[in-house]
Each structure stands twice: as structure tokens, then as C-alpha cells.
């Protein structure tokens, strides 16, 4: 029971007893009043009895006087005056008798025999007098005196009645006293009972409240001492019970939070340990190839200094060791960079549509030499109804390449089988690509650590098979980024099977998030001034999103959150393009559009309308240059902006001259291809034609076998008056290997920006 109910009940019980006391009081008053009134009538009756007795006595006396006087005067008849006088006394006595009867009440009166007697006398007198008057004769005195004896009897009786009444009075008095005592008893009893019960209830109430409160106090004390597993136990579902429950759930949450914080700290500690371990490993891994590079090069230097006759074969052997160690080092650094990108959340996922079968065939043909090296045979099995997938092709390649080269390296004269499946898992369309070998296999212990950084089956593995010990760690992280996983099964001596599982149609949402995570840091690297974009939108989140997407592409973005500000800003800042929302409070998009078209300075600025309303036709007829219906896909807005900036677009052309596809792969790995107009050729003559046809923002030169032709081409371009300011960037193989997409894109942006701002040597 809850506290308020307890208090209410206690009060109610006290009230009931109070009411009871009042009732007892009323009852006792009533009883007293009854008793007192009967006492009063008894006392009044006494008076009346003695009064009547007195009157009778007076009548008797008067008769005796009359008799005596009559005897003396020998008079036998009553005078009319006397008769009248007598009759008056008789009537008055009769009235007194009636009063007495009324006063004493029937019950008492019936016990008073004197009344009857007096009545009788009075009645007889009255009759006597009445009869005399009828016959017209005066009343004979003797007839009246004859009653003398009756009078005496009546008087005696009346005296007896008087004492009876006195007795009655004293009896009533006693009764009054008794009932008073009784009333006192009952009142006291009721009072005591109610006081007792009220006290008991109060005691219960206090005890309950006190116990509950002390449970609460104890609980909070326990918690403040850190014992968060303590729970407050209060009976009932009342207020305090609820309070206790609220406290308990608070403690539970606090406990969970503390637990979480503790776990997080442990995780952070673990991460720290892992980081230290990683650094130690890294140091070790870097030093080992460095040892070879420094050692061999020092030896060669010493040889030269000592004037030793060097055998070309020996020198070549040592140099190739230096080269190999250098390449190993580079691979290591690249893999560490990949890993750190994944871990800092900067590794984006760039999905594109691809043909799974073709993708697998491409990769397997790349690793064929390695497979052949260990005299293995490679088979591919496709169990695909539909080969079209959407995935991050680069990461997919890297994963598959890694799994395949592992399989090839750890298998000798064996069989490697790639099997591709497509299936539904938890309602998601999935693909799996497994790489099974018949190689040396792994023990359970090795399997447990296979995806850890810098772990190889054992230390001798590096010696025998090379590798950095990071490949599988990266593959696993890539797979997770792609919302997939890598499973592994193996038995020593029999072989290993790695299976990469991922969604067949990857969604781009994750990419958006991954990009958003790194936007804050990235924004500092943006090249400002490519084009100024004004975004007018009253919805804060929508405004923020547009700003972010456009900033990410290098645009300088201004924002206005209402129509009037938008117009003012457009006039003052003269942006290159305006992105305009329609539904806004105050001045809406249509009005802003109209206004902007009226003002001469802003009339020519391209405007992209962006709205939930599907009013494309109307928008275009009103003078908008493009119309996007929200929700807008993240690449739609930058694409629309780019389309409307033809002059700037010209300079964004990128010409790639290379054999193979290193640079073009890097460019197409992300939105770079869409941002820049990319053309690629290995043919120098064709490149020359293109350069004369149109202007390029940047010319990139990658791997090419005919470097003389490339040099001539570069000279021609640099010397030409038309294209002399076009930046030409020659990337050597080391740079190419170390470069990733982001670096390449910012590289191009820097060159283009330098060109736009007329500073080509920047």
C-alpha cells in the first residue's frame, strides 16, 4: 500500500472514532435530558401533591369552621356566598388534580391512590352542590361535613403519595448518577479505543515510512560507496515502492554505464597495448629490410672505395637484394597506411557495378605466374545465376588477390580452386568467393591468429614465403568495411579454404557515413575558389548536407537560411551558382527566383531549384537552370552544379598518358571520374591531337615504355603558346605505387587551382 493511502486510511479511522465520540456525547445528552425531565416532573408532582393536600386541608378546616359556626348559630344551610366560595376551592383543587395527573404522567399517577381519593371527594362535593342547585335549596352543611372522615383518609393517603414521589425522585437521582457514570465509561472507552487505534496506525505509518526511508538512505549510501549492485527493497507498489524502483533502475543504469565505461577503459587499454605491440612490430618489420638495404649498399660502397674489381653478376645480385628489400619496405608502408586508414575511419568504400565472373577471371589471370611458380593448377567454378554485382571493385580485387597469392605461396604442386556463389542470407542477396588450396594448411592455434597483424604461421614463414603479415588483417578489415566477412577453414597438411562473403548489391549509405566521419579533418585540405556556390534553404539539416557535399568536392559554399538573405548575399557575393529551396517561410523560392532574375547583376547566375515539390516543369519555365527533387542523391547536386559551370569545367579536364591502367584505376576508384573529365591514352600522337583539340587542366604521365616520345611531347606542350601553362606531371613508378586515390585527386586539384589562379609553378 502506498504512503498516501496509508495516511488517508489512518486519518479516516481517526475521523470515524471522532464521529463515534460525538455520537456517544449526543446519546448521553439525550439520556440525561430524559432523566432530568422525569426528575423534574417527579419533583413538581411532589409540590402538587402537597399543594392538593393543603387545599383539601383548607377545605376541611373551612367546613369544620362552618360547622362550628353553624352549630353555634344553629344554622343548617350554607350561605350562597359560602357555597360559591367552597365551590371555587373545589374547582381549584380539581384543577390542581388534573395538573398533577398531567405532570406525573399516567404511569406515576396511577400509583398515587390519594389522587383517586381526593378526586372522589371533589366529585361528590361537586355533585352535592350541583344537586342542591338543581332543587334550588341550599346545601346542607352536615352533608358536607359528612365527608370529614373521607378528608382525613385522603390526606393520609396524599402524604403517603408525597413520600412515594420523594422516593421516586431519589430513585431518579440515583439513575441519573448511574447513567452519568455509564456515559463517562462509554466515552472514556471510545476515546481510549480511538486513541489506541490511531496510535497503532500512526506507529505503523511511521514505521513503514521510516523503514522505507532508511532503506532508501541505506541504498544511496551503498551506491555512493560504489556498491552499485545493491537494490532497495520496499514492499508494495506505493509511492515509496515506486521511488525505490526508480532509484533501483537508476542504479541499474548507472551500474551498466559504469560497466560500459569500465569495459571501454579496458578496451582502450587493450587498444593501447595493441598499438604499442603494433609499433614494436612495425619497428621490427621496418628494421629488417632496412638492415639489408644499408648493409648491402655499404658493402658495395666499400668495394668501390677499396677499388675492388666488381663482377657485374655479383653487383647485380646484391643490388637486386637491395631492390627487393626496398620493395618489401614500400609494400609494408603501403599496407600500414591502408590499415591506419581503415582504423581511423578514413577508408572510404566506393561501390560500382561490376561483373563478378569477369572480376574473378581478371584477378586469377594476374596471379597465374605466381600459381605456376609453385607448380599449382588453378580452377574457377562459378555457381552464379546473375553475375552482376555492385561492390568496391578495388577492395574486392585486393582481397581476392591476397587470398590467391597466399594460396599459391603455401601450396606446392597442388590444386587451387576459386568458387563463386550467390545466395540469400537473412533476406540479403549475398555473394561468396572461396579460395581453397591443397597446401600446408594451418593448426587451430595458427588459425586463431591468422587475421592478426604481423602474424604469420610462424616466424620462418616470412623467410620462406615473404609477405608482411598484414595482408590478411587488411583483407578482414576491408571485408568488414564492405559489410562482409572472411571465413577460414583449414587442416594441417591438407589445405586451407578462405571464403569472402559480402552483399551482392552493396548500398552506398555506409560510404556516406564513412565520408561524413572524416569530413571535419578533410575540409582543411580543400582547395578553395574552384567555384562559389550559394545555397539557400530554411531547413538547417538540408542546408548542412548540401554544404558538406559541395565542400567535399572543393566548392566554396555560402549559405543563407531564408529568401531575403539569399537575395542579398547573391547581390553582394555574386556566386557562380545558386542552389535554391522552394518552400521557405517569408520569401519563398519562387519569389527569390523572380527577384534574382530581375536584378541585372544576378540575372545571369545559374540557379538550381531543390525541393520536395515535383515542379520541375514549372521551375524550368520560371527561369531555373536545373531542378532537383528532394531527397537528392548525394552525387546529384555536385553533378548538377558541375554541368552548369562550363568554363570551369573546361579546365577540369585531365589527360592521362600511360601504358596499363594504374592512374586511370586510381581516378575511377572514386567520384574523381565524375568530378574531372578524364581521358586516357597510351598513344603519344593521340595525346598530342587531344591537347590541340581542347584545353586540359592537368596532364598526368604515368608508366610508359617510350620515355623519349613522352619527353618530346612534354617539351612540345610546354613550348606551345596555347597550352604552355598546362601543368604536366610525370609520376615515376615509386610515386605511383605509393599514391592513393585521395592523394592523386588532391594533387590534381592543387595543379588545377594553381592554373586557375594564374600561378602554374605553384
Amino acid at each position: 500500500m502506498n504512503l498516501s493511502k496509508r495516511i488517508a486510511l489512518t486519518s479516516l479511522v481517526i475521523l470515524i472514532f471522532y464521529f463515534g465520540t460525538v455520537m456517544v456525547f449526543l446519546w448521553s445528552t439525550k439520556i440525561s435530558r430524559e432523566k432530568v425531565s422525569s426528575l423534574q416532573s417527579s419533583i413538581r408532582s411532589q409540590y402538587l401533591v402537597s399543594d392538593i393536600s393543603q387545599q383539601l386541608k383548607e377545605l376541611n378546616t373551612r367546613l369544620k369552621v362552618l360547622d362550628a359556626v353553624a352549630s353555634a348559630k344553629d344554622k343548617k344551610e350554607l350561605d350562597p356566598d359560602e357555597q360559591e366560595n367552597l365551590l371555587g376551592g373545589i374547582v381549584s383543587t380539581g384543577e390542581s388534580l388534573d395538573t398533577l395527573r398531567a405532570t406525573a404522567g399516567k404511569e406515576v399517577a396511577s400509583q398515587l391512590a390519594g389522587i383517586e381519593m381526593a378526586d372522589e371527594i371533589i366529585l361528590q362535593w361537586k355533585e352535592l352542590i350541583a344537586r342542591s342547585e338543581e332543587v334550588g335549596q341550599p346545601v346542607q352543611i352536615y352533608s358536607l361535613v359528612a365527608f370529614g372522615h373521607e378528608f382525613d383518609k385522603a390526606e393520609t393517603q396524599l402524604e403517603l403519595d408525597g413520600s412515594f414521589l420523594r422516593n421516586l425522585s431519589s430513585q431518579i437521582n440515583i439513575q441519573i448518577e448511574e447513567s452519568e457514570a455509564q456515559i463517562n465509561q462509554v466515552s472514556m472507552l471510545v476515546f481510549l479505543a480511538s486513541a489506541l487505534i490511531a496510535l497503532i496506525l500512526l506507529a505503523f505509518l511511521i514505521r513503514y515510512t521510516k523503514r522505507s526511508l532508511s532503506a532508501l538512505r541505506l541504498g544511496t549510501e551503498e551506491w555512493s560507496q560504489g556498491n552499485l549492485t545493491h537494490r532497495i527493497w520496499i514492499t508494495g507498489k506505493g509511492d515509496l515502492g515506486q521511488l525505490a524502483n526508480a532509484f533501483n533502475s537508476m542504479a541499474e543504469k548507472l551500474d551498466a554505464t559504469m560497466e560500459q565505461a569500465h569495459e571501454e577503459r579496458l578496451r582502450a587499454d587493450d587498444a593501447n597495448k595493441a598499438k604499442s605491440g603494433f609499433l614494436a612490430n612495425m619497428s621490427h618489420e621496418l628494421r629488417t629490410p632496412m638492415n639489408a638495404i644499408i648493409g648491402y649498399s655499404e658493402m658495395l660502397l666499400e668495394d668501390i672505395e677499396d677499388g675492388v674489381d666488381l663482377e657485374p653478376d655479383d653487383v647485380q645480385a646484391d643490388l637486386s637484394k637491395i631492390h627487393g628489400a626496398g620493395k618489401h619496405l614500400l609494400g609494408l608502408i603501403n599496407e600500414v597506411l591502408d590499415l591506419s586508414k581503415v582504423e581511423s575511419g578514413k577508408m572510404g568504400v566506393y561501390n560500382e557495378t561490376a561483373d563478378l565472373e569477369q572480376l574473378i577471371n581478371d584477378v586469377s589471370s594476374t596471379v597465374k605466374p605466381l600459381v605456376a611458380n609453385y607448380e599449382n593448377t588453378l580452377d574457377t567454378v562459378f555457381k552464379l545465376e546473375d553475375s552482376e554485382i555492385r561492390t568496391d571493385v578495388t577492395k574486392f580485387r585486393q582481397i581476392l588477390m591476397n587470398l590467391l597469392s597466399n594460396a599459391a605461396k603455401f601450396t606446392n604442386k597442388g590444386q587451387i580452386t576459386i568458387e563463386a556463389n550467390r545466395f540469400i542470407e537473412e533476406d540479403v542477396d549475398m555473394i561468396s568467393v572461396s579460395v581453397a588450396d591443397t597446401g600446408i594448411g594451418m593448426t587451430q592455434e595458427q588459425l586463431d591468429k591468422v587475421f592478426e597483424e604481423f602474424t604469420q604461421a610462424d616466424d620462418s614463414t616470412t623467410r620462406e614465403f615473404g609477405g608482411t603479415g598484414l595482408g590478411l588483417a587488411i583483407c578482414k578489415k576491408f571485408a568488414e568495411l564492405m559489410l562482409g566477412r572472411i571465413d577460414v577453414e583449414s587442416s594441417p597438411g591438407k589445405g586451407t579454404c578462405f571464403t569472402f562473403v559480402a552483399p551482392a548489391i552493396a548500398q552506398d549509405i555506409e560510404q556516406e557515413e564513412a565520408q561524413q566521419d572524416s569530413i571535419e579533418e578533410d575540409s582543411g585540405d580543400q582547395i578553395e575558389g574552384l567555384a562559389k556556390v550559394l545555397v539557400v534553404d530554411d531547413d538547417e539539416s538540408s542546408l548542412e548536407l548540401s554544404k558538406r557535399i559541395l565542400s567535399k568536392r572543393g566548392y566554396s559554399v555560402m549559405t543563407a537560411d531564408n529568401g531575403a538573405d539569399g537575395v542579398e548575399m547573391a547581390q553582394n557575393e555574386l556566386p557562380d551558382i545558386i542552389v535554391l529551396d522552394i518552400i521557405m517561410p517569408g520569401m519563398d523560392g519562387w519569389q527569390v527566383l523572380e527577384k534574382l532574375r530581375e536584378i541585372p547583376e544576378t540575372a545571369g547566375i545559374p540557379i538550381i531549384m531543390q525541393s520536395m515539390l515535383s515542379e520541375r516543369e514549372l521551375g524550368l519555365s520560371m527561369g531555373a537552370d536545373d531542378y532537383l527533387t528532394k531527397p537528392v542523391h548525394k552525387s546529384d547536386l555536385p553533378n548538377a552544379v558541375r554541368k552548369l559551370l562550363p568554363d570551369l569545367n573546361l579546365n577540369k579536364g585531365v589527360l592521362i598518358i600511360e601504358e596499363g591502367s594504374t592512374l586511370i584505376d586510381l581516378m575511377t576508384r572514386s567520384y574523381g571520374e565524375r568530378e574531372f573529365d578524364v581521358r586516357q591514352t597510351a598513344d603519344i600522337v593521340e595525346a598530342g591531337t587531344w591537347v590541340n583539340e581542347r584545353e586540359f587542366g592537368t596532364i598526368l604521365v604515368g608508366k610508359h615504355s617510350d620515355m623519349d616520345a613522352v619527353a618530346n611531347f612534354m617539351d612540345d606542350v610546354e613550348r606551345s603558346t596555347e597550352h604552355g601553362d598546362t601543368p604536366i606531371v610525370l609520376l615515376n613508378s615509386i610515386e605511383l605505387e605509393a599514391m592513393d586515390t585521395d592523394q592523386l585527386l588532391s594533387f590534381i586539384r592543387i595543379h588545377q587551382d594553381a592554373k586557375l589562379t594564374g600561378n602554374p609553378n605553384e
Partner: protein
């Protein structure tokens, strides 16, 4: 001339170091793992052992402890030569019983001085 046993699993490092020490006039033999290193040291009793630490079969720390424990090889001078160059790695090597410690990549001049100091 002093005799040096190189215990090193990395082929390139083994080749490079043995050639450079031979040029300096040392008599050099090589072992490719800890166990082989202990066996060769016990049999050949070189003047000095250059011990890598990350070794297959038996690691450098265990090999050093084994050599220092056996009466026959207890007085062998052992110099740890490792790519483990983090704080604590030196102490770990010295605790295992090494007489000195040097890190990779090898600075030959520094290493020669250490060898000279050990050989007295």
C-alpha cells in the same frame, strides 16, 4: 683471427653480415636457428656469438640462456643483434645473459667496436 658464429634466420642478413665480417678478417660460421646455433657454438666454441633474437625452433633468448647455463659454453661472449629496438628489448636481451646488445639495421663500425670490446 677471432672466430665469430652468426645465428640469424634471415638469409639476406646472414649473407651480408658474414661477408662483411669475413672481409674484416674474422673467421665466420653461420647457424640458421637457435637450436643449430647452440649446437654449433657447443661444438665449435667460437670467440663470439652474434645472436639474432627472433629465431625459429628456438629463439635467441632461449639459445642464450642455454649456452650460458652449459659449463662448456658458459664463458662464451654473446652479443644480441636484433631488430627489436624498442625500450625494454635491451634489458630483455641482457637478462637472458647476453654480454652486449646491438640493433638492426647494423652500423658496422659500431658493431665492430662492440665485438672488439668483447674480445678484449
Amino acid at each position: 683471427m677471432a672466430r665469430i658464429l652468426i645465428v640469424e634466420d634471415n638469409e639476406m642478413n646472414r649473407d651480408m653480415l658474414s661477408r662483411r665480417l669475413k672481409r674484416k678478417g674474422f673467421e665466420v660460421r653461420v647457424a640458421v636457428d637457435g637450436q643449430q646455433g647452440v649446437e654449433m657454438a657447443t661444438e665449435w666454441l667460437p670467440d663470439l656469438v652474434l645472436m639474432d633474437m627472433s629465431l625459429p625452433i628456438m629463439d635467441g633468448w632461449a639459445a642464450t640462456r642455454a649456452l650460458k647455463k652449459a659449463p662448456r659454453t658458459a664463458d662464451l661472449k654473446i652479443v644480441a643483434l636484433t631488430a627489436h629496438a624498442m625500450e625494454g628489448d635491451r634489458r630483455k636481451a641482457m637478462n637472458a645473459g647476453c654480454d652486449d646488445y646491438d640493433t638492426k639495421p647494423i652500423d658496422l663500425k659500431r658493431l665492430l667496436e662492440k665485438i672488439k670490446a668483447q674480445l678484449g
